[in-house]
Amino acid sequence: MTDALTDESLLDPDPGPAAFGAVYRTYASQVLGYLTARGAEDPEAAMQDVFLAVLPRLDTVTGGSDGLRTFIFSVAHARMVDDRRRHGRAPAKVPFDPELDRREDLSAEDEALDRIAPGEVLGLLESLPEDQREVLALRLVAGLSIEQAAESMGRSAGAVKQLQRRGILRLRELASVKEYLKP
């Protein structure tokens, strides 16, 4: 992990545009991936909302880069909770359309993505319960530890670990069924 954002830079009581830009460049991709994995209706707009809420409060963050990561994904988690509540009141779910997905495989996971398309991964994730999906997204996409994910979700570490185990088992079942049904 090449973190250009150092703990010393976060100690600045009056962060300026440079700090805002560094924070955005460091976490924007992960926040966007997390919101996409969570099934946000408009992940890019939600990501900008997250940073609009995070950047003005940088001076209140403690715990260095780990604390900032936990804070950012706590805000993202709250943003998703609000999004889910809004969807519950006025459901307007738009299905994922691979034709409209302009993402490019720029990461080191090209080999895996060649075998399993992002649309298929998201389709499998949608079959998981919300809590399990949240834990897997926080751990795999946001890169949080068990403790950090527990803090972001407001749960105990044991509960998060159990949710992670159930989510992985469920994913394996879904993938097996998918392989069985594959022509």
Partner: protein, 287 residues
């Protein structure tokens, strides 16, 4: 900042170990693919976020959140205004259509006009004001129908059938024993003695063809140049009564329109107009 490939694989192995799984049957690749979402290309900041990052001054986050809420409220108000405008427009349109003087009778006449060439019967137009108040004379109606069958000089029905004047036929044809063309009566009261009596039972002859046969029988005398009764012409008979020829026995049975009285002239003209409504269909039928 993205997690490198090796670190992601190490993270996946750690999670599989915590879950008690070995990562076989593609589960590891699936988790690695899920972790690949962290490398999505992030768009450049735009709008308020770009202004915030360019400004650099840490404006209170509460103000930004309030501005986002205000934007959503404005969006809701805009949708409400659009809906109200749409409803008002629909109301104005419906009101104008209802207030249009052509909205009521225009549709009926248009449909009648469309069906005119395809239906065997002619839908009568709106009856004249006098026709409603005037009771139908049972004695005059058969004569009138027979007179309607008289061959007129400008009647397109007969010109299209054979295009030449036909000799008068004996009255024996009227009783239906020798019919070349379907000659049903236009109205049911004449079924017994009208020219459609020779129609085979169980068939429904076209009503508009009813005046044709009697006209062929009775009206040919005048078209052949035989003298006609002048009183009939003065009486307003529109198309030469069936009793135009002195030697036509029908004239003894059904006197001409002059005997019906000059007061029936207007009614006779109306009946002719109704009869001509079915002529185009009969032309198509015969073609």
């Amino acid at each position: 900042m993205t997690v490198s490939k090796d670190r992601l694989r190490a993270l996946v192995d750690e999670m599989l170990e915590e879950a008690g799984q070995d990562g076989s049957d593609g589960l590891r690749d699936l988790l690695v693919s899920l972790g690949g979402l962290q490398s999505l290309p992030a768009p450049a900041p735009s709008g308020e976020l770009a202004a915030l990052m360019a400004d650099g001054e840490g404006t209170p986050g509460q103000a930004e959140v309030e501005s986002l809420a205000g934007r959503r409220r404005r969006h809701l108000r805009r949708n409400t205004a659009l809906g109200l405008a749409l409803i008002a427009g629909m109301g104005v349109g419906a009101g104008s259509v209802a207030a249009s003087p052509q909205a009521g009778g225009g549709a009926g006449t248009s449909v009648q006009h469309l069906l005119e060439g395809w239906v065997p019967w002619s839908i009568p137009a709106r009856p004249a004001a006098g026709a409603l108040s005037e009771p139908m004379d049972p004695e005059l109606q058969p004569r009138h129908d027979l007179r309607e069958g008289g061959r007129a000089a400008g009647d397109p029905l007969f010109l299209d059938v054979d295009g030449s004047p036909q000799p008068p036929r004996p009255a024996l044809e009227i009783d239906g024993t020798d019919h070349d063309e379907p000659a049903p009566p236009a109205s049911t009261p004449h079924r017994g003695r009208g020219p459609g009596r020779g129609q085979p039972p169980g068939t429904m002859p076209p009503a508009s063809a009813a005046p044709g046969t009697p006209g062929e029988d009775a009206g040919t005398g005048r078209q052949a140049g035989q003298p006609d009764d002048g009183s009939r012409l003065q009486g307003g008979g529109p198309a030469g009564g069936p009793g135009a020829t002195p030697d036509n026995p029908v004239s003894t049975l059904y006197p001409g329109p002059s005997e019906a009285g000059p007061g029936k002239a207007g009614k006779g003209a109306g009946e002719d107009a109704k009869r001509n409504q079915g002529s185009p269909w009969l032309e198509k039928f015969k073609k």
